[in-house]
Amino acid sequence: MNAPQRIVQIFLLLALVSPAALIAALTIGSVPRRPLSERAVARMTSTAVFTLVTSLALALAAYVTTGLEPQTWTARQWLTRTGGALQLDLLVDGWSLTFALVAAVISGTVSVFSYRYLHLEKGFVRYFILYACFVLGVQLVALAGSIEVLFAGWELLGLSSSLLIAFFHERRSPVTNAMRVFSIYRVSDAAMLVAAVLIHHRVGSGSLSTLFRAGTLAAIDDTGSMQLTAIAFFILLAAAGKSALVPFSGWLPRAMEGPTPSSAVYYGALSVHAGCYLLWRAGPLIQGSFIAQTLVIVTGLATAVLAALAARVQTNVKSALSYATLTQVGIIVVEIALGFRTLAFVHLIGNACVRLVQFLTAPNVLLDLHGFEGGAGRRARWPRLYAFALQDGGLDVILDTLVVRPFFAIVRAGQRLDERLSGERPIQGPVGRETQP
C-alpha cells in the first residue's frame, strides 16, 4: 500500500472511529447515577463531529489530489470461517467519499441545532446516543464495500430511527408509531439479509463491488441471471422499506413524532435517501436485469405520484415536507433505474440539503405565517382524489388487510392452541395469573 492510500485509509478509519467512540463515551457516561451534563455531551458530540467532518474532508482531498483509483479496502479481516471470510470492506471512490462528507456535514449541522432544541429535555443524553448511532450507521452505509458493513449500517439506521420516533415515550402515540415503523424496517432488514446470503452464494464473498460488476457482465447464464434478478429484487425491497417507497410509504407521516432535528436528518435529509443510495450503488446490477429495472421504475414512479398528491393535502408542515422529499426520492429512483447515475447522485445530494434546511426552519416559518397549518388542504376540488391522497393511497389499509391481520389471526390461533396444550385457559383481556418470583 502506497503513502496516499495509507493516508486516506487512516482518515477513513478516524471518521468511523469518532462516532463509535462517541457512542461508547456517552453510553459509559450514562452508567453512573449522575447523568452527564448537557455541556459535556455537547462538547463530546462537537469533538466527534468535527473529527468526522475534518477527516472525511481530508480523505476526499487526498483522494482527489493524489489521483487514486477507486478501490475496495479490507479494513479488517473480521472473521474467517469455513464458508469464506466476513470482511470489513470499505469502498473508496469519489462518490462514496462525497456522500460520506455531505452526510457528515448534515449531521454536524443537525447536532448544533439539536443542542438548543433539546435544551433541558429529560432525554438529552439518550437523544445524542441515538444520534451517534445514526451518524455511525450512515457513514457505514456510505462507505460500505461489503454487504456485512452495509447491513450493520442499515440496522443501526433503523434502530436509532425507531427509538427516536419514540423519543417522547411518555405518550402512547409516538411509541405505537415507532413500533409500526420498526416493523417495516425489519422487513427491509430481512430483505437485506436475504440479499446478503444470495450475494455470498453468487460471488463467494460479500464484496459489493464484485457483485455490482457481475451485473454488467455481458454473458450471464440463465441461472446466474435469475439469481442477480432475485438479488436486485431484495435490494429494492430493502431500499423501499428504508426510503418509504411504495408500498411502504405509509410509515412516513407516523415517523414525524420524534424531535424536529431527528425528523430533519432522518426523513428530510439522510435516512430517507439511504435506500436511494443503495439503489444507486446497485445501479449496474439493476440495469443488468430487465425485470428489476422495470420494477424499480414502476416503484419510483408510483412513489413520486402518490407522494406528490399526499404532500398537497397534509395538515402539518413536517408531513408536507416529508412527502415533498419523498416525491423527489421517487424521481431519483427512476433516474437510477434509467441509468442517469450522475444526475441521480446530484439530485440526491441537492434534495437532502434543501430538505434539511426546510425542516430545520419549519418552526420559524410557522411562526412567521400564522395559520399555515390550518390552511393546508383547504381547496379540495376533487374530494375523492383528496381523500385518496390524504390516506396515502390506502396503502396502510391494504397492507393491514393483506398482511398484518391474517398474520395476527394465524398467530392468535396458535396461541389458543398452545394454551390448550399446556392445560391453561385462554387468556381474555389483561393477563391474570398467579405470579411466583
Partner: protein
C-alpha cells in the same frame, strides 16, 4: 491415568456448588449465605476458565472400566465442552448477583446450586448413562423449585419434563447396548433421545410447556434450567455423531418452523414472562436446527448461537425478574415506564434483546450469520426461515422494550443495587465484546464443529453409508 491437577480441578468444580447446597440446608442467615454463594460462584467461574489457559486441563478424557456398559468418556474437557462449564458457572454467578435479595432466599440458592451442579456434570461427560443421570438430576432440581409455587398449573410443565426424562433415560440405556451402527435398536435409541431433547428444548409440537413453566413456575430456576441448553449438548454428543441424515433433516425442519412460530408468538403475548419464554423457544430451536443441518458452517453457527442465546436469554430473564420484584406482574398490554428509574436496565434489555435478533455488533449476529449460511446451503428455501425468525424476534423485543420501559413511571423510586448493575453491565460487555471481536470464540467453536463432523463421518462410514 488421572493426574493430580485434574483431580483438584474436578474437586473444585463439583465441590463448590455442592458446598453451597449443603450450606443452604443449615440455619445460616440468608444474607450471609448469599455472600458465601457469590464468593463460591465467583471462584467456580474462575476455576472453570482454567482449561483455556492451563495445559494439563486442556483435552483430558476419563473412561469408565470396560465392564460398565456404554462408550464415551465419563469426564472430558475438549474443544466442545471447553467453554460450557464457564457458561454454567458464569450463569450461576450472574443469577446470584442479579437476583433481588427478596426473591432469592436460601431455597433459591439451593435450587440454583443444584441446577448448576447437574448442568456442570452434564457438560463434562459424553457417557450416555451419566448424561441421563445429570439430565434427570437437573429436572429434579427444577421440580423441587416448582413445588414451592402455589400455582396448580405448574403440573403441565412437570408432565412434559417427566416424559422427556423418561424418553431420554430409555434412549440412553438402549444406546449403551452393544449393537452395530444403523441397526434398528440404535435407531430406536436415537429416536428416543431426539424426542426427549425436543421436548426439553420445546421444539414444535412439544413447546407449549415452556411458556406455562415460565408463567406459573419460579422464573429464576426456570431460566437457570433452560438457558444452558443441556438438550443441545445431549444432541451434539450423542445424536449428531450417530444419527442418519434423514432423522436430522426432519428435526432441523421442525426446529426451523419452531423458530419462526415461537418468534411470532412472542409478538402477541400479553404476559412478559410468556413473551420471554417464546423468545427462548425460538432461539433454542434455531440452535437445534443448526446442529441438525449436517454442515460444518451450520454446526459452527449453532455452537456460537448456543452461547449467544444462552447468555442473552439469561440476561433478559433477569431483567424481567428485577422489574417484577419492584412492580409485580408485567402486562405487555400497557406501558410501565421503567426507563425513567432504570435506564441501565433498559439499555441492558435492549442490547440483549437485539443480540437475540442477530443485531450487528453483538454475538448473536455472528452466530446467526454463520447459521444462516450453513442452513441455506442445506435447505435452500427453508433456510431463509432464520431470516424471518430474526425479523420477528426483533419486533417482539422492541415491543417488549416499549411496553416495559416507555410510558410514565408510577413505581416507588427504587434504583438498581450496585451488584445488580454490575451483573448487567458485565453481561452486556460479554455479548458486545465477543460480537465485536468474535474470531477467538468462532475459531474454538469451529474446531469443535470440525471434531463433531469428523465423528459423524466416521460413524456413517461404520454404518455403511
Amino acid at each position: 491415568v488421572i493426574s493430580l491437577p485434574v483431580i483438584l480441578w474436578l474437586a473444585s468444580v463439583f465441590g463448590l456448588p455442592l458446598a453451597c447446597v449443603l450450606l443452604s440446608n443449615t440455619r445460616m442467615d440468608s444474607r450471609r449465605l448469599r455472600v458465601v454463594a457469590i464468593v463460591i460462584a465467583l471462584f467456580l467461574t474462575v476455576i472453570t476458565t482454567l482449561p483455556f489457559f492451563w495445559e494439563p486441563l486442556r483435552g483430558f478424557h476419563i473412561h469408565l472400566p470396560a465392564w460398565v456398559p456404554g462408550t464415551g468418556a465419563v469426564l472430558r474437557v475438549d474443544e466442545l465442552s471447553l467453554v460450557l462449564p464457564t457458561l454454567a458457572a458464569g450463569m450461576w454467578l450472574f443469577t446470584i448477583v442479579a437476583t433481588p435479595t427478596i426473591v432469592l432466599g436460601a431455597d433459591g440458592l439451593r435450587f440454583t446450586a443444584q441446577s448448576t451442579l447437574f448442568t456442570l456434570a452434564a457438560f463434562l461427560t459424553e457417557h450416555p448413562l451419566v448424561l441421563a443421570a445429570a439430565w434427570a438430576g437437573s429436572v429434579t432440581a427444577l421440580r423441587g423449585s416448582l413445588m414451592t409455587t402455589r400455582s396448580t398449573k405448574r403440573h403441565a410443565a412437570g408432565r412434559y419434563l417427566n416424559v422427556s426424562t423418561l424418553l431420554f433415560v430409555v434412549g440412553a440405556l438402549l444406546i449403551t447396548r452393544p449393537t452395530r451402527h444403523g441397526s434398528a435398536l440404535e435407531l430406536t435409541a436415537l429416536g428416543l433421545l431426539v424426542a426427549g431433547a425436543m421436548i426439553r428444548k420445546g421444539i414444535f409440537p412439544a413447546h407449549a410447556w415452556i411458556p406455562a413453566l415460565f408463567e406459573h413456575g419460579r422464573l429464576g430456576p426456570a431460566i437457570l434450567f433452560s438457558s444452558p441448553q443441556v438438550g443441545t449438548y445431549a444432541i451434539a454428543v450423542l445424536v449428531v455423531p450417530r444419527a442418519p441424515a434423514e432423522l436430522l433433516r426432519v428435526v432441523a425442519i421442525l426446529s426451523l418452523l419452531t423458530g419462526v412460530y415461537a418468534a411470532a408468538q412472542a409478538i402477541v403475548q400479553r404476559s412478559a414472562r410468556r413473551a420471554c419464554a417464546y423468545l427462548f423457544v425460538s432461539q433454542s430451536a434455531l440452535v437445534m436446527a443448526g446442529l441438525d443441518c449436517t454442515s460444518r458452517e451450520a454446526l459452527t453457527g449453532a455452537l456460537v448461537l448456543w452461547l449467544s442465546s444462552s447468555i442473552s436469554f439469561a440476561g433478559l430473564g433477569r431483567c424481567l425478574l428485577v422489574l417484577e420484584a419492584r412492580r409485580g406482574e408485567l402486562d405487555l398490554g400497557r406501558h410501565h415506564g421503567a426507563y425513567e428509574r432504570k435506564p441501565l436496565l433498559a439499555g441492558t434489555f435492549l442490547v440483549l434483546g437485539l443480540c437475540c435478533s442477530g443485531f450487528p455488533g453483538t454475538l448473536g449476529f455472528v452466530g446467526e450469520e454463520l447459521l444462516l449460511g450453513g442452513a441455506v446451503a442445506a435447505f435452500p428455501w427453508l433456510g431463509f426461515l432464520i431470516v424471518a425468525s430474526s425479523a420477528l424476534t426483533g419486533i417482539a423485543v422492541l415491543r417488549m422494550y416499549f411496553a416495559l420501559f416507555a410510558g410514565r413511571s408510577r413505581e416507588v423510586p427504587m434504583a438498581l443495587r450496585a451488584t445488580e448493575a454490575a451483573g448487567f453491565v458485565a453481561i452486556v460487555a460479554v455479548v458486545v465484546l465477543t460480537g465485536l471481536i468474535p474470531s477467538p470464540l468462532v475459531r474454538s467453536r469451529e474446531s469443535a464443529a470440525e471434531s463433531l463432523f469428523t465423528q459423524r463421518v466416521a460413524g456413517r462410514v461404520q454404518a455403511g453409508e
